[in-house]
């Protein structure tokens, strides 16, 4: 991440990547990241841009103050995607480690709020 966390014109952001996977916990990771963005904790950013090696996405992530990856399950797709693009220093949260069981998690306003609170505590 960036050593300098501020710029005179545009502060280096806190970026949040969600696995946004197909399972219920993947959906929860996505919605939690969007809630954190709405709540001003950071800015959800495009994990697909990391996978696709989109230069602006990669360079913006390099310049970020903090990066949080939210995975739904132990497959850790968001974490691995970041690592394979060369990112080493980021915070990581796996929802299934916090009581959100894959295949048995209801995606609701309450569960999104709970997941966002857990993930937000890492920022």
């Amino acid at each position: 991440m960036s050593a300098e966390c501020s710029c005179a014109c545009s502060a280096a952001p806190t970026l949040i990547f969600a696995c946004s996977g197909g399972a219920d916990v993947g959906a929860l990771s996505d919605l939690a990241a969007r809630k954190l963005t709405r709540d001003g904790k950071g800015k959800m950013f495009c994990l697909a841009g990391i996978g696709g090696r989109v230069s602006g996405i990669l360079k913006s992530t390099e310049a970020a103050c903090k990066v949080l990856a939210i995975d739904g399950c132990p497959l850790d797709c968001a974490k691995k995607t970041l690592e394979q693009a060369g990112f080493k220093e980021f915070r990581h949260m796996r929802l299934s480690d916090h009581g959100f069981e894959k295949g048995k998690t209801e995606v609701s306003e309450a569960s999104v709020a709970a997941a966002a609170a857990k993930a937000g505590s890492l920022l």
């Binding site: 710029c7 005179a8 014109c9 545009s10 280096a12 230069s55 602006g56 360079k59 913006s60 310049a63």
Partner: protein
């Protein structure tokens, strides 16, 4: 060669444009340097902080002023 300097116009963004123009002149390359201040245009490159420099569509740096040597390395082929 197409070079875009992205930034709303703060001191660091102005410095970046200056460094880029100096490097282009020093390298003697044929390049069009354009300053982009519109945030929506910046977003199209996936850039989340400024200043940023884009060379022929590829974002080379975000969030800091590049050195002249950095820019020379990007534009010399």
């Amino acid at each position: 060669m197409d070079i875009k300097v992205l930034g709303p116009g703060c001191a660091k963004c102005k410095e970046t444009e200056k460094v880029v123009r100096e490097a282009v002149a020093a390298a003697g390359v044929d390049a069009n340097v354009e300053k982009i201040t519109d945030f929506q245009q910046m977003m199209q490159y996936g850039v989340m902080s400024t200043p940023a420099v884009v060379v022929d569509g590829e974002v080379k740096v975000v969030g800091k002023v590049p050195s002249k040597d950095d820019v020379l390395a990007w534009i010399k082929k």
